[in-house]
């Protein structure tokens, strides 16, 4: 209406924010037991008391803002962030966070890190050809947790140079320190080693965005730089070794870098609501760390290296263009094309391997710098058949060309159809189904033979595959009832009908059901359940001929849970409860021509998790949180159950135990509010 002039609107009743407010959390928690898995990512891995701090604060005045956020400052999962700026002009942020990775606290080793890149055996270590001969093993073992921490520093900002131009910069520095597991092979023997982790990654994103009406453009540069402060690992061989040949050495992950320049954008046409979006990126990665010599063994006259560093280079190209339009009423189409290329330009050079620092292979072999090109075409359309019924269909094609692999050219065609039916205001159904066929030009058994492969092997990522899939999502919200139910189900079946050896088929089924019930304005309840089963079949050949053994895998995962929220359980007291029960079950059956069908013991994992929080608002400024968390986890993984450091005759292991813990955490925290942002004068 011509009479309206928003510039005259006063907004007298608008409570614009101005001033400072904050809330500070001070808390303490008690953890009942040591459990590495429980403490993974949260830092509660050891029994005992923890003090925790957190909170957030906000300052706002005339568009200027400064905010801070803190979480778990007393834990190894701490987070601290600051952001601010003047809205509409510029903004910045700074952050620091840590993430603990806790894998095992039941492990022990005979090795000591005399330096980050060197592991030594205890003095007087008794070598033998088998672990049973390590007569002083028991007295030499010392506990060694397998755990590490990620430290994450972030900083960045943006600047709006005008209504059209936006500049931004993001920086992230990631440090990882701790101890990880690697294996040190000694031909037919191996020692699992606690290697020291000490590496850093720097990530930089710089960019400028331009927008003008229907046109958006963005130019961006990415730099990613990985630095490993431990680029090799030398260890003393625990097994019998000739005098003077006790040392072994492996390379660790080398420093690498990657830079990428990207231009992306979109243009919106008035005709048919057409939008064309595109992106084009060109990148280059490199790696040129000094190479280790062929062997650390001084008694082997190894050949000279053909080069002292790899001078590895990879060029990447990524192009994409997407068109969406509504060419007819109720009709929408989409056409998309994408091209990704990894072009490894590292030179092929002949190398002469020394096998596990023990003897020269006497053969030369070329490195294989793998490259690939992937082209994807998607075409789809949808039509609103009725107001409540939309039908869609699409065709996807993927062409993949590879170098140095058994299949040079692979094509996958996929067709699908979908129905979205909003039958009433309380029932909606979304169903999709389709099939795809992945074909190959040929499986080059010459290449396979060069790798020593059985000529009948068809690697599953290269092989012919026929896939059928279907999925269903339904949402039910009966009118006038405060209940909603959602259901999802998925099925996918892969058939590798032309594979004699390797993966021959796999099937995934999944269902999930969730019910939410708003019992009253103060109470709500939810329950959910679901199951996923992944089944896979493979064939192998011990005789290096046709298939003479078959394996069937079945990974089943069941999840059940529920919870409730009660507001004002008592005066100013709220309660939240969440319970989760999961069961993982992995069953593997082997059928061999020699021994018939046999079954591995089922690998069962069970998780029970209960989280209860009671929040009491003592006043406008003061709140109390009482929390109880209980978690029980039990696993009988046969890969590590009963495997002590000397259980495997030829592998000196770390003796990790399957996870089995019951932990409860009792926490109490006080939240205090400081200040209060006040309405500003409009």
């Amino acid at each position: 209406n011509a009479q309206v002039d928003p510039g005259e609107w006063k907004c007298e009743f608008c409570p614009f924010t101005s001033g400072y407010d904050a809330e500070v959390d001070v808390g303490a928690a008690y953890v009942s037991d040591d459990a590495a898995r429980f403490g993974n990512a949260n830092g509660y891995d050891e029994a005992g008391a923890y003090v925790d701090l957190g909170g957030e604060g906000h300052y706002a005045n005339d568009g200027y803002q400064l905010n801070w956020f803190a979480e778990d400052l007393g834990l190894a999962s701490r987070v601290f962030e600051i952001d601010g700026g003047h809205q509409g002009s510029y903004g910045f942020y700074l952050g620091y966070s840590e993430l603990p990775y806790r894998l095992f606290d039941t492990t022990s080793t005979v090795y000591t890190a005399s330096a980050p890149d060197s592991l030594t055996l205890p003095s007087g270590w008794v070598r033998a050809n088998q672990t049973s001969g390590f007569t002083n093993l028991a007295s030499s073992l010392v506990p060694q947790n397998i755990e590490s921490d990620r430290k994450n520093f972030t900083a960045g900002g943006h600047f709006l140079a005008s209504s059209n131009f936006r500049f931004y910069a993001d920086y992230r520095h990631l440090e990882r320190d701790g101890v990880d597991m690697v294996s040190g092979a000694n031909f037919t023997q191996a020692s699992i080693l606690p290697r020291v982790l000490d590496n850093e990654t720097d990530l930089i994103d710089l960019g400028v965005g331009y927008s003008n009406g229907p046109l958006n453009l963005s130019l961006a540069w990415l730099g990613s730089f990985f630095t490993n402060n431990v680029t090799s690992l030398t260890w003393e061989n625990a097994f019998t070794a000739p005098a003077g040949e006790e040392l072994r050495r492996m390379a660790q992950e080398p420093d690498n870098d990657f830079q990428q320049l990207s231009l992306s954008g979109s243009y919106r046409f008035n005709a048919y609501a057409t939008v064309i979006a595109f992106s084009a990126s060109m990148g280059q990665g490199g790696q040129n760390d000094s190479l280790l010599p062929y062997t650390i063994n001084p008694n082997i006259a190894a050949a000279a290296l053909p080069k002292t560093s790899l001078d590895g280079k990879v060029d990447t190209s990524n192009y994409a263009v997407t068109l969406t339009a509504n060419p007819l009423p109720k009709t929408r189409i989409k056409l998309a094309y994408r091209y990704d290329e990894r072009d490894n330009q590292t030179a092929q050079v002949p190398w002469s391997r020394v096998i596990v620092d023990s003897f020269a292979s006497g053969e030369t072999e070329l490195n294989t710098p793998y490259s690939f090109k992937r082209m994807q075409l998607n075409a789809s359309g949808s039509y609103d058949l009725f107001d409540d019924l939309r039908v869609s269909a699409g065709y996807d094609r993927t062409d993949l060309d590879r170098s140095f692999q058994e299949v040079a050219s692979q094509t996958e065609d996929s067709g699908w159809a979908r129905v979205k039916w909003q039958t009433t205001e309380w029932l909606s159904v979304n169903a999709k189904g389709g099939a795809s066929s992945r074909d190959i030009d040929r499986y080059d058994t010459t290449v396979a033979a060069g790798l020593g492969q059985n000529p009948l092997m068809r690697k599953y990522n290269l092989a012919y595959r026929y896939r059928e899939f279907g999925e269903l999502m339904a949402s039910i919200s009966p009118m006038n009832l405060p209940v909603s139910v959602s259901l999802s189900a998925l099925w996918a079946d892969d058939s590798y009908t032309r594979s004699t050896l390797g993966m021959t088929g796999s099937t995934t089924t999944h269902w999930n059901l969730e019910l939410n019930w708003a019992v009253s304005a103060r109470a709500s309840v939810y329950v959910f359940g679901g199951e996923e089963t992944i089944e896979a079949d493979q064939a192998g050949s011990e005789a290096f001929a046709g298939p003479d053994w078959f394996a069937n895998h079945e990974d089943d995962f069941l999840i059940l849970g529920g919870g409730l929220q009660l507001a004002k359980l008592w005066d100013n007291t709220d309660l939240r409860l969440d319970y989760t029960h999961t069961e993982g079950d992995t069953r593997i059956a082997m059928t061999t021509s020699a021994s018939g069908r046999s079954q591995f013991p089922s690998i069962d994992t069970t998780l029970e998790s209960l989280r209860v929080t009671v929040n009491h608002k003592r006043s406008e400024k003061l709140e109390l949180d009482l929390s109880l968390r209980y978690e029980s986890f039990d696993s009988n993984d046969w890969a590590i159950a009963g495997v002590e450091p000397d259980t495997i005759p030829t592998v000196l292991s770390l003796g990790a135990n399957p996870y089995d813990y019951d932990v409860w955490v009792l926490g109490l925290s006080i939240r205090y509010r400081i200040g209060a942002a006040k309405p500003a004068t409009p």
Partner: protein, 285 residues
Amino acid sequence: DASPEYSRKGADTCIGCHDEQATLDLFHTRHGVPSDPRSPFGRGQLQCEACHGPGGDHAGRVRRGEERPPVIRFGKDSETDVLVQNGKCLGCHEESADFAWHGSGHDDNQVGCADCHQVHNAHDPVRATASQPEVCFDCHQQQHAQSLKPYSHPFDEGKMDCSGCHNPHGTGTTNTLFVRQTLNDTCYECHAEKRGPYLWEHAPVVEDCSSCHEPHGSNNPGMVSLRGPMLCQTCHSQAGHPSIPREADGLADAAPSPYLLARNCLNCHTQVHGSNHPSGSKLMR
């Protein structure tokens, strides 16, 4: 029909009725900042009606028994068409460098912006790491279940969010919405040590991490799709130990087998992501 009319006093008209705290919390968000000329409450902007559309009829007098004319409402329960809802948001937010909404998987499925975002909430759950997965899992129920598998990324601890890997607003990278150009580039954000290039590469690694890993969670350690050594044996059939079937008689209580127990194939071939050792062609160094 004549164009619908705007209200006479803008937000002051709206707040006269809609004065509940959940609505007024908008003024604690970036949408409620008057000094930003781009904000709905910037000078000359249409305030509430910038998003909810002209509210003149809605705010006007209604005869007894007559339904009040609606304005644009947002969210899954809204009667407003999702394209109209999203059109309002995209009218401003399309002009953003990290937007490639049109043609993205969420656009294809007609996901509404307000299906995920709570615009009036200063603590929009989808914008916080701890609470974001719960929002995404509302639709992505399979991923929710997978995230609770024995081996997964730490979503359940509130220390990792979905947007660490996925850009829900689209990135022009087909329907998977990765934050970087490809799946592998996305994984290298945190696992840059696996990027190489290595002297000795493992072919499937450089092409697709998900050839072996299930990034949302797995029953198997390392989030791999199958147990070793069988996983490796789906591709490796060389004469000798790679092609020999491993059975339960190789478990710890029988004849402990290095090919089954501890790290199985990785007991020796530890460098499965690539080796930079001149003698590392078999990924043992």
